[in-house]
Symmetry: C2
Subunit: 120 residues, 2 copies
Amino acid sequence: MAILEQEERNEYLCVHEDTVRKVLKEMPPEEDLYDLAELFKVFGDSTRIKILYALFAAELCVGDIAQLLGMSQTAVSHQLRVLRTNKLVKGRKEGKIVFYSLSDDHVRTIIDQGMEHVDE
Amino acid sequence: MAILEQEERNEYLCVHEDTVRKVLKEMPPEEDLYDLAELFKVFGDSTRIKILYALFAAELCVGDIAQLLGMSQTAVSHQLRVLRTNKLVKGRKEGKIVFYSLSDDHVRTIIDQGMEHVDE
DNA sequence: GTATCATATGAATAGATGTTCAAATGATTG
DNA sequence: CAATCATTTGAACATCTATTCATATGATAC
C-alpha cells in the first residue's frame, strides 16, 4: 500500500536518456549560466534600458537623467547603482557632480542585438 | 510661508538643459524601449537560460528538460510558456509528446553576445 | 468506453525587485 | 564654521515573478 501510494505520487517523466546525456555534456557550468541570467536581468528593466540609451548619446549627471526620464533623483540613483555594480556604467566625479557614461562598447552591442530582435 | 514650505519640499535637480534636449531627441520611442526591456527580462532568469542553452544542443521534450535541470515538469512547462509567448522557442507535437526547439538564430546571437561579456 | 501518459493550466505562496520617503554623506561657497 | 547642492544610502511598501500543488486537457492503448 505504502509503495503504491508512493508510486501514485511519483512523476513519470518522458525522458530520452541518450539525448539528455548528450545535452548535459554540452551545457556550460551552472555558475556561468547563472551569471549570464544576472546580466540579462540588469537589462530587463525599462528604466535601466532608458538610462543606458541616454548614455549612448552623452555623458550625463544624475539630475540630467532624472529630468530626462521624468523620475525622482533617488530612483535614478538606485538604478545607477545597479548598473555600476554590474560594470555597465562608470561615474566620473567633478566637484559635487557625478558624470555617468557607459563602461564599454559591449553594452551597446548587446542592446543593439536585442533591439534588432524587437524590431522584427 | 506656504510658498517657502513648498520650496523646501522641491527637489533641486542639477540639470544641463542643452544636453538633455539633445539626448531626448535621440531616444527611441518609449514603446520600443519597453519591449526591449521585456525581451531581456525573458533572458534574465537562470531556468530559462538553461532551457535555451539545452535547446542549442538538441530538440527536447518537456520531460527531457525537467530531468536535465532537475526540476518539476510543471515548473519547466510554465517557463516554456514564457519562452513560447515571446517567440523564443517553438513546439512540435508528435503524439502526446511536444518537442521544443529554438524559434530562430537571433536567440543564440543574443545569448552568445551576453556570454562574451560574462566571460571577461 | 476506461486507463494511462505527456503536457498544460490555475490558484496560492514565498521570495525578489523598483520606487518612495527620510536621512546621511561629500563637496563647494560664503 | 554653517549653509547649500548633488548624490547616496537604508528601510518600508507595493508589485511582480517563479515554483509548487492540484487539476484539467489531449492523445494513445487496451
